[in-house]
Symmetry: C2
């Protein structure tokens, strides 16, 4: 007797309601998970986003803010007046509040903080003073501590009395000595399974691994990952416990650093790229291509000096510029394919978005090709220093445009076909695609050269 | 009054003791964290590893096994007789046991399982039947469930009675209906802060997100990451709860998939590479290079047909092979630099290991260069089809060896210098290094050509 699977609400249901459907918006939204809603907002107009946000109750707003990422988050924040912002802040964990206030202008943040409970506002101001990518920037200042001479029952009472905002991390209890230095940790499970009259010191894990407040976030993530910690206590330079980083936040920071590494390898952040506008995508991806053009021109220059073309203009001259074409096409192909592979892996790219993503990626490739082709054409014409070579520069520019556009097309179509046929697209994204784009880049190059320069 | 920082034991202390120090080994080891010990074992001889493992008590052995990775894990396992293995297994969470038994031969595994409590052995056999990269392969079958009509106090009692091995995940309580289908989840914190007479159904989170037992591990990780879950219930095709994947395990699986993506982009797994032998490193990195050689030869062939060299052998011929050199040097440089960047980031590479890692990476580069250079020399000589061109093939091979070795040197020295001067080495690992290696690859190429072929 297989149970009828419950039908989850979908983006298109929301779009129908926004376009004037029968169900009231707030009724519909009460069934939607905040994480899903946060994702759908990417697909909506700003006005629609505002309508959705206005239809949520306070809890729904808090959750949506917790799950949404920066561009959308900012739109949401802009729709709140100061009183609403204060309400939202009271329901959020301290570390999230700090991230949120960092998105507003300083004056608004200060006005809102003045309305918050004085003690909490003090704590928030202090949290906000730490660098975002350090332990201080990751930690929350709201957690439960007990002295080492209390009993398990006292620790449970302490948890009950300090229970804070709903979204707060559930990270057990830290045990401190009389100077506030951490000496142990008791998990919630331990508290549940031990008699209330047992001294905390007897059940606590006394091998405490702490980090300094200025420690790099990557180091905090490495500690969590290496020692399988559920939370890391953060201490000041006196060794006093001033905050706690949850495993979740530490690992997320580590993940960000790995993403950063991929971003640097590929020359663009692969995640969420398909949600960006074409001009934004060209802008983030052009610096790597510019570097490749410069490197390729230097290579061509070296080759020119070492192996002068002599009277045989055209043939050797063309081959000198091959590294630029191959490099550019390889970069663009690897960027497109990596973006697609990650988008499939994270579920960012659904089947119905495939054709629009393919179209926009090819346009991005074309734009990059035009920019780099034009730049190379100008410099190459100048470098060859021969007016009869103007057609040569033009041929070079055209070859770049065609090869780069083709590479972005390949970088999309190959992973898409793999996905269609049930092969993991990641298999082809790297070296295989580069090889394919190298060979076709060279072929396009000589093809265009034949057409425009009439070489035989 | 800054407290004296406690001196943590270090690898060299262990090495001293193994070489015959005054402190007994077991006394020393009782102060060492299992995660640290697991890392140190990489640096020890197999016999020393066995001595260390033998000196640990049962708890220490279990922890060390939980923290160690596969090559070392296997060495450790080999040192256990069946009775010791049974003891270790009784103290481990079910999902870890399955991973461990997968490393032994089937006969041993079966003999050990026969000594384990019958019911547990059944559960372990079932767990072992799922594919490693699915929800079934990640989940544990040992977790706490209660019926939806019980009270909070009953749930706490259930936890106390079912408390299993020490390493078990602490993941709250799942609430199921009369058919065993999950209908809710209660965290330990919720149980601690609610009165024991409250019905569980009142405090449970009833928005349960489940996965099927065959679901891909990447999908499980995405769910945990997207919805910030602390654990995912796994159901069979009747919707019955049969296992639980902890957030930690799900995120680790996701991390493995991201690593896999990097591995495919770079053509080698960057993590733990510096701990491998030189031949293992060459073996894992040669497939990408072979693909590059083949692609480059195809490109050279196309160029040869499209732009025949005519009587001017040497000049054009050389330029046709430029893509191979640039491609190989770029690959090796990006591999070396990515390995170093990740090794710095994860703390795998300490300052005292730098020079030995540099040396071994350059040797790896040299080996790859020799293999690829020899292959290219043979094919190119054959392709040019001219006995006078034997010296040409030799020049080409030499250029490849020099350029690839140089690229691996660059790929190490540039990130190392960055690290030394306090610049994040990741900044230079990607496009910057490729550009540098492209230019120097071309320069080396023409340099070698000049020397060996006497071109002017």
């Amino acid at each position: 007797m297989q149970p009828e699977p419950e039908k989850r609400p979908e983006l298109k249901d929301l779009q129908e309601i926004l376009a004037g459907g029968a169900t009231p918006l707030d009724t519909f939204l009460s069934d939607v998970r905040a994480a899903d809603l946060a994702e759908w907002l990417y697909e909506l107009e700003e006005l629609e986003v505002a309508r959705v946000f206005a239809a949520l109750d306070l809890e729904g707003r808090v959750e949506l803010l917790l799950f949404s990422e920066d561009p959308v988050r900012q739109t949401l924040l802009a729709g709140l007046n100061e009183e609403e912002l204060r309400q939202v802040i009271e329901e959020m964990p301290a570390d999230e509040v700090v991230d949120l206030l960092a998105l507003t202008d300083e004056k608004t943040a200060e006005r809102v903080l003045r309305r918050v409970d004085f003690e909490r506002a003090q704590g928030l101001r202090e949290l906000a003073s730490y660098e975002a990518d350090t332990a201080g920037g990751l930690m929350t200042s709201e957690f439960v501590t007990v002295q080492s001479d209390v009993h398990v029952g006292d620790a449970i009472k302490e948890i009950r009395s300090e229970e804070g905002p709903a979204g707060e991390e559930e990270i057990g209890v830290f045990v401190v000595d009389e100077n506030g230095r951490p000496v142990g940790f008791v998990s919630d499970r331990e508290l549940l399974t031990t008699g209330i009259h047992t001294p905390v010191a007897e059940v606590m894990d006394d091998d405490v691994i702490t980090v300094g407040v200025d420690e790099d976030q990557e180091e905090v993530g490495n500690l969590v990952s290496k020692y399988s910690l559920s939370a890391v206590p953060v201490v000041d330079d006196q060794g006093v416990l001033i905050g706690v980083v949850s495993a979740e936040d530490a690992l997320e920071a580590l993940e960000d650093e790995v993403e950063e590494d991929i971003r640097r390898l590929v020359g663009t952040s692969p995640d969420e790229q398909t949600h960006l506008s074409i001009s934004a995508r060209v802008r983030t991806r052009i610096p790597l291509q510019a570097l490749t053009v410069v490197g390729g021109l230097v290579t061509a220059f070296i080759l020119d000096k070492a192996l002068p073309g002599g009277g045989e203009a055209g043939r050797i001259d063309i081959l000198r510029y091959l590294p630029i074409i191959i490099g550019l096409a390889g970069n663009v192909g690897i960027q497109s394919s990596t973006i697609l592979v990650r988008a499939y892996a994270t579920g960012e790219l659904s089947q119905e978005r495939e054709s629009s993503v393919l179209g926009s990626e090819v346009i991005v490739g074309l734009m990059i090709g035009l920019l780099c082709g034009a730049a190379t054409m100008c410099v190459a014409t100048f470098m060859e220093g021969d007016p009869t070579n103007f057609s040569f520069g033009l041929a070079l520019g055209c070859a770049i445009v065609v090869a780069v556009t083709w590479a972005s097309f390949l970088g999309c179509v190959v992973p898409m076909s793999c996905q269609r046929f049930g092969i993991d697209p990641a298999i082809v994204a790297g070296p295989f695609l580069i090889t394919l784009s190298d060979i076709s880049g060279a072929a396009i190059f000589v093809g265009v050269a034949h057409l425009t320069l009439g070489l035989a």
